[in-house]
């Protein structure tokens, strides 16, 4: 295939226009970010429940996540993976680590020190961190789409 330098530059501009249009559409409401954070927080806080109830809490949270993803897909007409390559992946991993660390401390406090309610404040912290993280994730995604000429 033969093309010139000018045509190559024009092709890249055309491609970038589509990415910018996608960036314009890739917006989620504050409520949607809050739901993401809330579900992560509930996942941690559910360990405050007695007996086998935490397992039910985890299952319900996972089901709710699936419903939210399905709802997003049908409303927006696109599915973006939280673990997609790029700066957003580092943030996703970071948020996951925060949740795991919080859960670990909460379970330790509950089981070793007998503080049964410990998972609740840690769940609140995770909910707030993950809500903020979700908003930052969207911002990073849009910046990447609007500012880079394609990842290689």
């Amino acid at each position: 295939m033969r093309i010139g330098e000018e045509e190559a530059a024009r092709s890249l501009e055309t491609m970038q226009a589509a990415r910018i249009e996608l960036a314009r559409r890739a917006r989620w409401s504050m409520g949607r970010h809050a739901i993401s954070g809330l579900l992560m927080g509930l996942l941690v806080a559910s360990y405050a429940l007695p007996g086998g109830w935490p397992i039910l809490g985890v299952v319900l949270c996972m089901l709710a996540v699936a419903v939210v993803i399905d709802h997003d897909a049908n409303r927006d007409g696109l599915v973006v993976s939280g673990s997609r390559a790029g700066p957003t992946r580092r943030l996703t991993i970071g948020l996951g680590l925060v949740a795991i660390l919080a859960l670990g401390i909460a379970v330790f406090l509950r089981q070793r020190l007998g503080i049964a309610w410990a998972p609740v404040p840690f769940g609140v912290i995770v909910a707030l961190v993950c809500t903020a993280g979700s908003m930052r994730w969207e911002q990073l995604y849009r910046e990447e789409l609007a500012g880079v000429e394609g990842r290689n």
């Binding site: 295939m1 093309i3 000018e6 559409r25 599915v79 973006v80 000429e149 394609g150």
Partner: protein
């Protein structure tokens, strides 16, 4: 302006609408047909034609799903398509950089 055969450029991806479509799919898991049509600003028939040619080449996969009684088509890039797209873009960038259009 010099012109020459360039390794890495893919004639199947090069048309603007297909390049744009592959660029969108590189950034997501799946794209719904109507959303793709709106973002690319093309008609249903034009997008269908592009999808047909790209899926025949193994660059795309199409999935039909019924939601609330309406059938929707979901588009995703295959590994082969993503690889071809990235190589194509890298080649375009090399060409454009050589000509001083990019830094």
């Amino acid at each position: 302006m010099s012109r020459g055969a360039i390794d890495g450029l893919d004639p199947l991806i090069h048309p603007p609408a297909r390049l744009q479509l592959m660029a969108l799919l590189a950034e997501m898991t799946e794209l719904e047909f109507a959303t793709g049509r709106d973002v690319l600003d093309v008609s249903d028939s034009v997008l269908s034609k592009h999808l047909s040619q790209l899926s025949e080449a193994g660059y795309l996969e199409l999935r039909k799903a019924t939601v609330n009684g309406r059938q929707r088509t979901w588009i995703s890039a295959t590994g082969r398509g993503t690889k071809a797209f990235r190589l194509h873009v890298a080649t375009l960038q090399r060409l454009a950089t050589k000509a001083g259009h990019l830094n």
